[in-house]
Symmetry: C2
Subunit: 443 residues, 2 copies
C-alpha cells in the first residue's frame, strides 16, 4: 500500500507558517494531540508497525524531495551565518535519510511495550493485583537543528502509543515540515489519526512558551538541546520534563586497576568521540598509581593532540615525563563539559576522594571505575549518584542501543521517572490492574 500523496503536492513553506494568534494555534495543535492520544493508546501493535513500515517506505521513496527541502534550509542557514558544526548537524544526505528509514524499521521490530501486564499477585483479600504498561499520553519534543530527531522521536512515541507534538529548530523548518507530512501520511495509511504526530509549523519563538504551559494537553516535555534551552524550560515549564543536561563524565583509575585495561578505557572514554555527552571530561587517578599510570596515558593523549588540564600533582608527574600540551587546571575545569579534545586530570587519595569529587563536580550522567577490587567496585556502584555507574568499561557505552533498549529518545539526568538512556519504556507508565471475583472491603 502506498502512502496517500495528497498533501505532498503542497510545497513546503520555507519560512514556516504565520499565525495571527500563536497561542491559540499551539493550543489547537495540543488539543488535537490529546484527542489523537486516545485511539493511539488503543492501537494494535499491528497498526502501529504498519504505520512505521509506511514511514520507512515514505522516507526512502521521497528521499529526493527531502533532500531538496533540506537544501533550502541549509542555504538559508548558511546565508544567516550559521557555523559549520551547526550546518553539519542540519544537513541531510542520501545516507542519513536511509539511516532514518533503517532506524524506523528497527523501532518497528522492537517488542510493543503497551498492554503488558506484569507482577500479578494474589492478595490476602482475594483480589489479584498487577500492573499494566500504558502510554504516557501526549509527549512534547523540543529540539534544535537536527532534522533526524523529527523522525526518531515520532517513531518512538508512535510505537509506545503516544501522541506527539514536535517543536524543531527554526533552521530546519522546511525539512521538518516535509518529514511531518510523510509521518502523517504513514499514520493515515495505517488507519491511525494523522494528528498523532504534529509539528509546530511556525518558527515564532513564542510557540515554545505556549507548549510548556499546557499541562492539560501535554503530559511530558522531552527537551533536546543546549544548556540555555534546558535552563529556560526548567524555569518556565508547567509540564513535567524528562530532561537531558550536561555529561560531565569521569573515569577513576583505582589503586588496583589493571594498567592495560585502564589505558584502554581512559583512551576510549576520551578520544573515541569528543562531542558526545558520554565522553569522559575528567580523569581521576589514585595517588598510589599516578606516577606509573599518568605518563603512559599522557603519551597516548599527546599522540592524539588532547590538551590536558592538570591538578598540581598530575601536572608535575606529566611534565616530569615530558608530556606536551599541559595546562594547570582551574576550579572551573572540574565543572566543565568540554565536548572537545580537552581533558581535566586530577590525582585523588583513594576511592573516597574519587566518589566525593564525582558527586560534587559531576552531572549525574555516567561515571566509571577501573579496578580489580570487588569491594571498591561495588562501593563505587552504590555510592556514585549518577544515572549510569560502570565498572571496567568505557563511559561511551552509556547509550540506549548499547544498553539493549533498541533506541533512545535521550539520556535523562533526572531522578524521577526515567534515569539514564530513555527508550520505549521511559515513554510509558504503569497503572495498577485489579482482578477480583466480587470482593469487597471490610475493616
Amino acid at each position: 500500500m502506498n502512502a496517500p500523496s495528497t498533501t505532498s503536492a503542497v510545497a513546503p513553506d520555507l519560512a514556516g507558517a504565520v499565525h495571527a494568534d500563536v497561542g491559540a494555534y499551539v493550543r489547537r495543535v495540543c488539543v488535537a494531540a490529546r484527542a489523537a492520544s486516545v485511539p493511539m493508546g488503543r492501537a494494535s501493535s499491528k497498526s502501529k508497525n504498519h504505520a512505521l513500515a509506511e514511514l520507512a517506505r515514505g522516507l526512502r521513496q521521497r528521499c529526493d524531495e527531502i533532500l531538496a527541502a533540506n537544501a533550502t534550509d541549509v542555504a538559508r542557514a548558511r546565508a544567516a551565518g550559521l557555523d559549520s558544526a551547526a550546518l553539519d548537524r542540519l544537513a541531510l544526505s542520501v545516507k542519513s535519510v536511509e539511516a532514518m528509514a533503517a532506524g524506523v524499521n528497527q523501532i518497528a521490530r522492537l517488542t510493543d511495550p503497551i498492554g503488558e501486564i506484569s507482577d500479578v499477585r494474589p492478595m490476602p483479600s482475594g483480589i489479584q493485583v498487577g500492573r499494566m504498561r500504558v502510554p504516557l499520553g501526549v509527549i512534547g519534543i523540543i529540539y534544535e537543528s537536527r532534522p533526524n530527531v523529527t523522525v526518531d522521536a515520532a517513531a518512538l512515541c508512535l510505537k509506545s502509543g503516544n501522541a506527539t507534538v514536535l517543536r524543531g529548530g527554526s533552521e530546519a523548518i522546511a525539512s521538518n515540515q516535509l518529514l511531518a507530512r510523510i509521518i502523517a501520511d504513514a499514520l493515515g495509511a495505517a488507519g491511525l489519526p494523522r494528528e498523532a504526530v504534529q509539528l509546530i509549523d511556525t518558527t515564532d519563538r513564542a510557540a515554545v512558551g505556549h507548549m510548556i504551559t499546557l499541562p492539560d494537553y501535554i503530559d511530558v516535555i522531552v527537551p533536546r538541546g543546549g544548556r540555555s534551552l534546558i535552563e529556560r524550560l526548567m524555569r518556565e515549564s508547567r509540564v513535567p520534563m524528562i530532561k537531558h543536561l550536561d555529561g560531565i563524565c569521569h573515569v577513576y583509575v583505582d589503586d588496583d586497576a589493571d594498567t592495560a585495561m585502564a589505558l584502554r578505557i581512559a583512551d576510549n572514554a576520551k578520544t573515541q568521540r569528543y562531542g558526545t555527552c558520554n565522553t569522559m571530561e575528567t580523569l581521576l587517578v589514585a595517588r598510589s598509581v599516578a606516577g606509573a599510570f599518568l605518563p603512559a596515558i599522557g603519551r597516548i593523549y599527546a599522540g592524539k593532540g588532547v590538551e590536558l588540564r592538570c591538578c598540581a600533582e598530575s601536572l608535575a608527574i606529566l611534565a616530569g615525563a615530558g608530556i606536551p600540551g599541559l595546562t594547570p587546571a582551574t576550579d572551573a575545569d572540574w565543572d566543565t563539559e568540554y565536548l572537545a579534545p580537552i581533558l581535566a586530570i586530577r590525582v585523588v587519595q583513594d576511592l573516597d576522594g574519587a566518589i566525593a569529587h564525582i558527586n560534587t563536580h559531576g552531572s549525574q550522567h555516567t561515571d566509571a571505575i577501573v579496578t580489580s577490587h570487588h569491594g571498591r567496585a561495588m562501593r563505587f556502584v552504590r555510592e556514585v549518584d549518577s544515572a549510569s555507574v560502570m565498572v571496567n568499561a568505557s563511559t561511551r557505552f552509556a547509550d540506549g542501543f548499547e544498553y539493549g533498549l533498541g533506541a533512545e529518545i535521550g539520556i535523562s539526568n533526572d531522578k524521577l521517572h526515567a534515569r539514564g538512556p530513555v527508550g520505549l519504556e521511559g515513554l510509558t507508565s504503569l497503572k495498577y490492574v485489579v482482578f477480583g471475583n466480587g470482593e469487597v472491603r471490610g475493616d
Copy 2:
C-alpha cells in the same frame, strides 16, 4: 539502647519558631537535608531498622508527652474555631500513638528496596547492563493537620534511604515539633544523621513558598492536602511533585454483570467509608440492566440514607420504584468528589459509553467494572486511563496496604514516575549499572 533524651527536656514551642528571615531558615534546613541524604543513601538496612525500632520505642515511651503537646494544639485549634472534623483529624489518643508505633514497626519489617540490582543482562559488546534501586535523595512532604503523617512519612522516607523535610499544618505544630524530636533522637541513637528528618518549625506560611523553589536541595515534593493546596503547588512549584488530587471514582455495572456481585460492590464502594479518596462518587449502569438493577441498589442506598443525584433515565426508574432521596443530577455532579453520603447515578448505553464518561469526568484515580464478559473486562482495563482499574472488585481496595506495598505515602494521580498507591518503591529511582571486563566502544 535508649534514645538520648537531651532534646526532649526542651518544652515544645507551642506557636512555632519565629525566624527573622524565613527564606534563609528554610534554605539552611534543606541544605542540611541534602548533606544528610548522602549517609542515608549508604546506610545499611540494619542501621535504618535500628532507627525505626528506636522510633517506635520512643513513641510508646513518650506517649504522655505526645498527648500533652497534642492537647495544647487541640485547645488552641478549638479556641480558633476549627470545625469538629478537623479537630478529629488533629487529636491523638493512646490508641492512635500506639497505631503510629505499630506502623513504624511494620515499615521496619518491609524488605529494604535500596541497593537491589535487577535485570542484569549481557550485551553483544560484552558488557553486562542492569539496574540498581537507589533513594531519590531529599523528599519534601507538605501536609495538613494530621500529626500521624509526620511519623508515617518520616518512617517511609527513612526506610527508603531518603532525607526528609516535613512541613505540617500549623494547627499541629506542638505535636509535630515533639514528634520530630523523637524521630531525630531515634536517628541519632542508630548513628544516622539527626538532620535526615527535619520539621520546618515555623507556622509562617511563606515557608512553603521557599521549600518548593529549591530544586537543588529537594528532589521531589509529596503534597498531601486539599485541592487548593495542591493547585497552588502545581502553579508555583519548581520541584517535581508526586501529587494526590481528587478521587472521582466510578463503578460501571455492565450488561453481563452478576447482579448479586454488582449490588455488593456498588454498596461497598459507596458506603463502606464516605470520606476516602477511593470511594465511588458516580455509579454507571448499562441501559439493558438499569431497569432491574437500579431499584435493588436504590433500596440499599435508601436504607443507609444516601442521597442519589440521577440522570433523567435513572431518576425515572428509581422514582418509579418508590426510592426516596432522589435529586436530578446537574452537569457539575459528574465532576464532583462528594466525600459524603451522596452518589451520582447515570445510565449509559454500553461499555463504550462508560469508558467515555470515565475518561471525561473521572480523576484518573480508581474505576471498576462489574462484568462476567472477559473481552469487555479486558477492554475496560486497557482503555480506562486511571491509576487503578478493577474488574469485579470494590474501588475501596485502591490502597497501599491492600496492594501489598506494606505502607503508602499517598496515592498519585500523576502519570510520570509513580501512579496509584505509592509505597517504598515510589520513593526510589533506578540507575543503570554496567559491569565490564575492560570493554571499550568501537563504531
